[in-house]
């Protein structure tokens, strides 16, 4: 039960940060998405995001910062395993499932459904 509450809180707080950015600056949702992925990647590269994942579980992995963290973690792992080539194949290997799902389901839903306006 406790892990659900923490996931709720951590996820909620990360989303609140995004909301503050959108309300107090000129940033659009697209800017916020890019910013959060980049921040997640940087924090993941520094090793500072993993503690948040240990604490918040899905509350840290579901927001797009978590996606950025996966990109960084995958890259670090790739470099450790493959050396220089790991810089190139690490990120996409780690996030392959999510990316594939996004593109394939995106295609599927677009074929089946029409925009309602």
């Amino acid at each position: 039960m406790q892990e659900y509450v923490i996931a709720f809180a951590v996820g909620g707080i990360i989303c609140m940060i995004g909301q503050l950015l959108m309300d107090l600056t000129n940033l659009t949702p697209a800017h916020v998405l890019v910013l959060f992925v980049v921040m997640g990647t940087i924090l993941g590269g520094l090793g500072w995001y993993q503690p948040l994942v240990e604490l918040g579980g899905a509350g840290a992995t579901i927001p797009l910062t978590g996606f950025g963290n996966s990109l960084a973690a995958g890259t670090l792992e790739g470099v450790d395993k493959y050396g220089f080539l790991g810089i190139f194949n690490g990120a996409l290997s780690a996030t392959a499932s999510g990316m594939m799902a996004a593109i394939v389901f995106g295609f599927l839903m677009a074929v089946i459904f029409n925009p309602k306006g």
Binding site: M22, K116, G117
Partner: protein, 335 residues
């Protein structure tokens, strides 16, 4: 050669064209709003069983021009010229509507000031003896405009309080050199005014300075002042733009507090949650071609000034960090 120029930017019509008929159409949301009694046609949804938003917008334009012609026991065939425009790239919806109507046609882009621009140029054609019967029309479609200027319609975005809602609708007005009805007496051609607003969600405040510039020029060119008119209408400044106009005019010594309204504030009810009001070519088009025209015909209004306002930015200019250049054109219509 008779000089019909008047002051710096205005024209005084001598053979004053008459507005002999109008027609308007709206989507379901517009049909549930404040203008519901003044629509000729209200569509059941925003696509009307067609294949795209753009085709629906073409359909709206065809309908209003046809309906306006039918009201004077004529047909579209009688129209010597059609002047029309919309908000889309390359005036897409207008061109396909005109392909159907097949009349001599001049396309116009004035953004949300297109309705007034079409009537103004049409009036010049009639006053100059180049035409006897023509139509001016404009349309906009909420989803087609969102998709082009902002975001896809199914994207989960939050609109800020200053944002306005693009009207789904169209309006057409038929101008004639003879007949009875409200007459176009003066026109003031606006020039582009850009006070540096960059936020495409804040179109009302962006356009307000252009409206004020044209109003001031109109009054100085014609020697009139605001209380000459029973009502002054702007096209689509919304609640915030309207407040700005009253403020800026007061600073220049013009009192607009008694007889001024904005068409963008006259379309949606507060519970429809459109935030700062309506915008789009159809904002001025549906309100003028419905409510205002009917008030003029019933002589509830004797003299009005109609100021169309347009924000002339593009998605490209916005992405290149340019500010929003705006324009306003004024038409004096008197019974």
């Amino acid at each position: 050669m008779l000089n019909k120029r008047c002051g710096k930017q205005s024209i005084g019509f001598v053979n004053q064209p008459v507005i002999i008929s109008t027609a308007n159409i709206g989507g379901p949301m517009e049909g549930e709003g404040l203008q519901s009694k003044y629509f000729d046609i209200i569509m059941k949804d925003n696509i009307n069983d067609l294949n795209s938003w753009e085709q629906c917008e073409s359909y709206m334009l065809e309908q209003v021009i046809t309906r306006a012609s039918e009201k004077i026991s004529g047909s579209v065939e009688n129209l010597e010229f059609i002047l029309a425009g919309d908000l889309l790239n390359q005036l897409m919806s207008t061109h396909f509507a005109m392909r159907t109507l097949a009349r001599p046609f001049l396309g116009l882009y004035g953004a949300c000031s297109t309705m007034i621009e079409s009537m103004m140029i049409g009036a010049m054609m009639i006053d100059g003896g180049f035409a006897n019967l023509l139509a001016g029309a404009a349309s906009s479609h909420h989803d087609a405009a969102e998709r082009q200027y902002r975001f896809p319609t199914e994207l989960g975005v939050q609109r800020p309080p200053v944002a306005q809602w693009t009207v789904t609708g169209a309006g057409a007005a038929i101008l004639s050199s003879t007949g009875s009805g409200p007459k176009l007496t003066y026109a003031t051609v606006g020039k582009i005014v850009d006070m540096g607003i960059k936020d495409p969600n804040a179109l009302g405040p962006a356009m307000a300075p252009a409206a004020v510039d044209t109003l001031i020029t109109h009054f100085s060119d014609t020697g009139r002042n605001p209380n000459y008119y029973d009502m002054i209408f702007t096209g689509d400044l919304g609640y915030i733009g309207k407040e700005m106009v009253i403020k800026l005019c007061a600073e220049k010594g013009l009192d607009l507090s008694n007889n001024y309204e904005d068409c963008g504030c006259m379309i949606y009810k507060e519970e429809q949650d459109t935030h700062a009001g309506a915008s789009g070519c159809a904002s001025s088009a549906v309100v003028f071609c419905g409510y205002i025209y009917q008030m003029l015909c019933k002589k509830n209004y004797g003299k009005i000034l109609l100021v169309g306002t347009g924000s002339l930015h593009s998605p490209t200019s916005y992405q290149q960090k340019e500010s929003i250049p705006c324009i306003a054109h004024a038409l004096a219509i008197e019974v």
